[in-house]
């Protein structure tokens, strides 16, 4: 990629960053060497804890002081070692020569300043341009990141914009001074697939027109396939494989890379035969949930979070509800669990209509529907042992403490965790282990229906594959009906028997997973498939055959 005589824009040379005493390993980053040439996009791939973000932050000199300290090697930006630069020099470089965009566009912008002011701040900090020139520059860069109506965007506060628009603002802010290096830390991870596709496209275009070198941090091989010129794979603070995007994706050498690529779920549905005669556990009929609608003092416009949703799940089957954020998929799940009250329609659990059941009747119904939530870090009470969290439900319904703990031990083995670990606290477990505990907690109630609300979305691919397999195993063994809410089409293809695609509160397509995936009927479903990153690249399959 690099022209022979040109110097690399960024050269990380044998970088070592120490972790504070008492960690499981001594170095967060251990002898890493990566270079990014002019006009090159290098993807740094790895799972959480691999050291990829630490590497990125060390380039910017933004590592938390006293916790992570670079102890060896060099980071050269256009030949200048930033590890030896003074604080003042680093401030000159940040925002002007190198800039960074972050994962969460929702929180990365200051909510009390207009977007225009936040971009202007970069200009006033690094240049002596006058007010008028600054304004022109701001409007120009907003135009370049393809935001509609730049003057209005500049005058808007972040909360008035969508996630994709905010990420465009971040990109505009990062590129307004034409830095030589752009570091993008999982910039599309928090976005919907269709938005992700647009942002990736934009980044590629703008990188070409601005001649920027890009270091792109991601965990998603789909994204790598879309954008990377070269790839470096990191594990445990070390680079385990490096090469051109083509070579690494198609002919991975390191076992870890092979495992990662193999763990990416395939688009091809599993093709498991369905049992036609299985009894229907859950059916919804014309389920609606409307928010707002204007009180006496408000003139809020009603929001139809779910409209006329009719679905059914049979025993031993998994129904996937697929959609982007705001599509109403979680609203439907919460209505079914009666965590929120549906506005109208019916929810049949076996033959009981629970849609309008009273609180006292709900108490006995609660046991039969259980949810596993998205974020395993926040859905377990940090101050209770995991055992206490698991037995709380059954004991609430009259099981004796001894029996409940006995059951908890069985469940721990069922979810493949050490049964003796019940007296530990959630922080002593990894994300994947916590999600297993959440599954055990849900199963302790012996539900008829298990709802998994984005239950694997927060997990690394390799862990995700294991949890998906576990869920599938449990569904089979306990003959459970499962409602699987996800935004990830690949995951849906692997676990679901039937799929409902939701868009703006409505089910736009509903049918067998095999037929929906092979022959999508609705335009929105097609758009969703087309936007999925790395669609031309069948990961799971590629490795199986190769």
């Amino acid at each position: 990629m690099t022209d022979a005589p040109t110097q690399p824009i960024l050269e990380i040379d044998n970088l070592t960053i120490d972790l504070p005493e008492g960690n499981d390993r001594r170095h967060a980053v251990d002898g890493v060497s990566i270079s990014v040439g002019p006009r090159e996009i290098v993807c740094l791939v790895g799972e959480s804890g691999s050291g990829k973000s630490v590497t990125a932050f060390s380039i910017m000199g933004l590592l938390p002081k006293g916790q992570l300290t670079p102890s060896g090697g060099a980071i050269r930006l256009m030949g200048e070692n930033v590890l030896e630069a003074s604080e003042e020099r680093l401030r000159e470089l940040r925002g002007a020569r190198m800039s960074m965009i972050f994962q969460e566009p929702m929180t990365a912008l200051n909510p009390t300043m207009t977007c225009g002011d936040q971009i202007e701040e970069v200009l006033t900090t690094h240049t002596d341009l006058d007010q008028a020139t600054r304004q022109t520059k701001i409007l120009d860069i907003l135009e370049q990141v393809q935001l509609p109506d730049p003057p209005r965007m500049a005058a808007s506060y972040p909360h008035q914009l969508s996630g994709g628009q905010r990420q465009r603002i971040m990109i505009a802010m990062a590129l307004v001074l034409e830095p030589v290096l752009l570091i993008a830390d999982e910039p599309t991870t928090a976005l919907d697939v269709t938005t992700q596709e647009q942002i990736l496209k934009l980044m590629k275009e703008i990188q070409k027109t601005h001649d920027t070198a890009v270091l792109f941090i991601t965990h998603d091989f789909g994204v790598v396939a879309e954008i990377a010129d070269r790839v470096a794979v990191m594990q445990w603070g070390k680079v385990v494989e490096e090469g051109s995007s083509e070579a690494v994706l198609k002919r991975p050498q390191a076992p870890y890379t092979r495992m990662l690529i193999g763990a990416v779920p395939s688009f091809t549905p599993h093709g498991r035969p369905r049992e036609a005669k299985a009894p229907v556990v859950l059916a919804t009929d014309g389920l609606c949930k409307t928010y707002g609608g204007g009180g006496f003092f408000q003139r809020a416009r009603p929001v139809h979070a779910a409209q006329d949703v009719s679905l059914e799940v049979r025993r031993g089957e998994t129904l996937g509800i697929v959609g982007e954020s705001g599509s109403g998929k979680s609203t439907v799940a919460r209505c079914i669990a009666r965590l929120i009250d549906p506005t109208s329609g019916h929810i049949y659990l076996d033959s009981d209509d629970i849609a309008q059941a009273s609180q006292s009747r709900l108490r006995s119904l609660r046991r039969r529907v259980q949810i596993v939530f998205q974020d395993p870090y926040r859905s377990l009470n940090p101050r209770r042992t995991v055992g206490a969290s698991i037995v709380e439900g059954p004991m609430n319904y009259g099981m004796s403490g001894a029996a409940a703990y006995e059951r908890a031990r069985e469940l721990m083995s069922l979810v493949r965790l050490d049964p003796t670990a019940l007296d530990r606290f959630p922080h002593q477990f990894s994300g994947g282990q916590r999600q297993r505990i959440c599954i055990a907690r849900a199963l302790a109630m012996e539900p008829d229906l298990l709802i998994a609300d984005e239950a694997v979305s927060a997990l690394d691919v390799s862990v995700q594959a294991q949890v998906l397999e576990l869920l599938d195993d449990i569904r089979r063994r306990l003959d459970l009906a499962m409602l699987f809410i996800t935004h990830d089409l690949r995951v849906a293809a692997q676990v679901c028997d039937t799929v409902a695609v939701m868009h703006r509160g409505q089910v736009v397509e509903y049918g067998d997973a095999a037929s929906v995936f092979s022959d999508p009927q609705h335009d929105y479903t097609r758009a969703l498939f087309a936007a999925a990153p790395g669609r031309g690249f069948d990961f799971g399959g590629a490795l199986a055959s190769g």
Binding site: L62, L93, G95, A108, L109, N110, T112, M113, E121, T125
Partner: protein
């Protein structure tokens, strides 16, 4: 926004009404007779009875309440039993010292508490942070009157930098006016500085962990710009809330401080009126204070929407 203000101002009417009735009844239920106080130590029962008659204290309670509320609605706070003056006039005479003390205290509090709170948050875990927190605990713990007498002893009697007591009106010149307010303001503000510095530190510390602070550093801003422009404004809502509560509490503090420093303000008026069972004055002062509370609360709520564009009324 405008509708919100009107709505909130209208809501003060029932609040003030309830306060009026409550205060009126509480005063009559507590022991003590204004007529006996006015008659003095040598007053005969006949004299006391005559005074009761002339003040209308022999009327049934509801009639007294009706007359008072009726006058109130016409803007008449009544006559003070003790000072023999219109209560409204009495209050107006005493407003300036109290207002002056409250304002200087407020300025001093904010000028000291917010910066040290921000610095403590920025330097958290260091000796600076610990010193600010230690001062905070000490500031909470020392009673206002103890601190007042200590300051008088050290700075007025030993060092002779400030007068011991007294008040000069602003029309007597700005420096004499301010000079006499310095010790009282310091006395009164210490506890608020302690409180607000703590809240500022906690609030800013939380904001410093936000993603947009990292974004601000990534733009190449200096730490002081990040703290001022990005951290403080986002941390401001809880700080403003506590400042608002502080202003309300200040009125309580004013009573003690004015007594210690012999300042003829509303605090002193309240104390004198209570000691003299001067019902009309006590009632009027409390109604004025309640109105001030309500207005401060409204101002605090309006400030929220200035600070945070996501809050709109």
């Amino acid at each position: 926004m405008f509708g919100f203000i009107i709505q909130r101002l209208l809501a003060t009417i029932p609040v003030l009404g309830m306060v009026a009735v409550f205060v009126f009844l509480m005063l009559r239920l507590t022991p003590g007779d204004p007529a006996a106080v006015l008659a003095g130590d040598n007053g005969t029962p006949e004299q006391i009875e005559q005074i009761r008659q002339s003040l209308g204290l022999n009327e049934p309670l509801l009639v007294q309440l009706g007359i008072w509320v009726g006058n109130l609605l016409q803007g008449d706070f009544g006559q003070s039993y003790f000072f023999k003056k219109d209560v409204a006039e009495l209050i107006l005479l005493r407003v300036e010292p109290t207002l002056a003390l409250a304002i200087t205290t407020l300025i001093l509090t904010i000028a000291v508490a917010v910066p040290i709170g921000v610095i403590a948050a920025y330097k958290h875990g260091t000796w600076i942070d610990r010193a600010v927190m230690a001062f905070s605990v000490a500031g909470f713990s020392v009673p206002v009157f103890v601190l007042g007498y200590i300051l008088i002893y050290v700075f007025a009697m030993e060092v002779k930098l400030f007068p011991v007591q007294g008040y000069k009106e602003i029309s007597d010149g700005f420096w004499p006016f301010l000079h006499r307010l310095i010790l009282p303001s310091i006395t009164l503000s210490v506890i608020y500085i302690a409180l607000i510095a703590r809240i500022t530190r906690a609030s800013v510390l939380e904001i410093l962990g936000e993603d947009y602070i990292r974004t601000a550093y990534a733009k190449g801003l200096t730490p002081s710009t990040v703290l001022r422009k990005h951290a403080l404004r986002n941390a401001a809502v809880p700080i403003v809330t506590v400042i608002g509560i502080g202003i309300a509490l200040l009125i309580g503090g004013v009573v003690v401080t004015e007594s210690v420093y012999n300042i003829p303000g509303l605090g002193r008026l309240t104390v004198d009126a209570v000691l003299g069972r001067d019902y009309p004055t006590i009632q009027a002062v409390i109604i004025v204070f309640s109105f001030v509370y309500v207005v401060i609360n409204l101002l605090v709520d309006l400030t929220y929407s200035l600070l945070d564009p996501r809050i709109r009324y």
